[in-house]
Amino acid sequence: MRRIILRTFSLVALALALPTLLTLPVAAGGKEFGDVVKLIESHYRVKHKSIPFAARVGMKATQVVARRVLRYAEYGSVKFAYFEDQDFTAPKNGLEFHSAMRGAIEPEWEPLVQVRMPKDAEQTYIYTKEAGKFFRVLVVQISRRDATVVQVEVAPAKLLELMRDPDAMGKTLTDEAASETEND
């Protein structure tokens, strides 16, 4: 009997504390990389490939984009997903996808830069989030037939590089990937 009462009180105590605990910021491991990959899959009805598979079939663009972003990554893990040769042309100039992504990851992730060129079906989104003394950077790039999602952890000095020229960073990611693919 006593055990039942104690258990009841424990539940009451938890119930008291839970509502306020739920208002705390979500810790690392919340809405992140996987959610964005799933969002792209459901929004565009496509399927992603992981790095090992992409590398096996020799996808140059994948490697180039990864290399570019990896220059900024010094610490922690790198997450990468690639979508190849699928249809990413979207109605409403990609505005619906942008809106869906905002709903999925903001405000936990803060938007740093967004570049959209509807005519070329190009979209680049760069988000950041504090992770202790480092920062997580999430880069989502979508073009007419391909897309990449990369999440890296960077030191503040590297993030500063990105911040000083965020517009160019967004564009360079796409341009460099495209040009190196053509040259190879």
């Binding site: 009462i5 008291l16 306020t20 993030l159």
Partner: protein, 202 residues
């Protein structure tokens, strides 16, 4: 019975402490995201993206700007460090259009409504040397010491529109140093007058 009461008190105390800690953390979070007065609702321009051939949005809130001073070295700082210290945010929206006339005054109505006196004043001492670019610069007086609390730039061209919102204390003489940095476009700004007498907008 005594140990039962003690257990109950212990549980109640833990619950109370958890509640207090959570409340303090939640309240601290609310305080930290408080919006400074000079921050425009720049998102009001987002519907223009549907008509634009290219859209660039840059958001640098205070949280990100705070990382700059400790990691920026003196050699590459070039006074940027000094400029950034007083800032609480840099927000940029840039739209490029395929043809002229794709954006109108109506698209800018919300932004202009926010830039009204007495909070904001349009100043005439800052102009753009770039041909065909009409630049309007607005400042918001700071709360203390007569410093500028925020700044807004509207740069319009027939096929391009840029709105820059800088929140925080900034020296107008050094404004051009921010061009090409932190998402602020190269507008070739120059200060034509030294007397910072704001011309109140009606």
């Amino acid at each position: 019975m005594k140990s039962f009461v003690l257990s109950f008190i212990r549980l109640a105390f833990v619950a109370l402490m958890l509640t207090c800690v959570a409340s303090i953390a939640a309240s601290a979070q609310t305080t930290s995201v408080a919006d400074p007065g000079a921050k425009l609702q720049i998102e009001d321009l987002d519907p223009l993206a549907a008509k634009a051939a290219q859209t660039v949005n840059v958001n640098l809130p205070e949280r990100l700007l705070r990382i700059v001073p400790p990691v920026l070295t003196d050699t590459d700082g070039d006074k940027i460090k000094e400029l950034i210290l007083g800032l609480k945010g840099i927000y940029v929206r840039r739209f490029e259009f395929d043809a002229e006339g794709q954006y109108t005054d109506a698209d800018m109505a919300s932004i202009r409504a926010q830039l009204r006196a007495p909070a904001w004043s349009r100043i005439v001492e800052v102009k753009s040397r770039r041909e065909g670019t009409n630049v309007e610069v607005y400042i918001m007086d700071g709360q203390t010491g007569g410093r500028i609390g925020g700044l807004a730039i509207i740069a319009s061209e027939p096929k391009e529109l840029t709105v820059v919102n800088i929140v925080g204390s900034i020296d107008l003489d050094k404004l051009s140093k921010l061009e090409g940095e932190f998402g602020v476009p190269e507008l070739e700004l120059e200060r034509t007058g030294k007397t910072p007498q704001p011309q109140k907008k009606q």
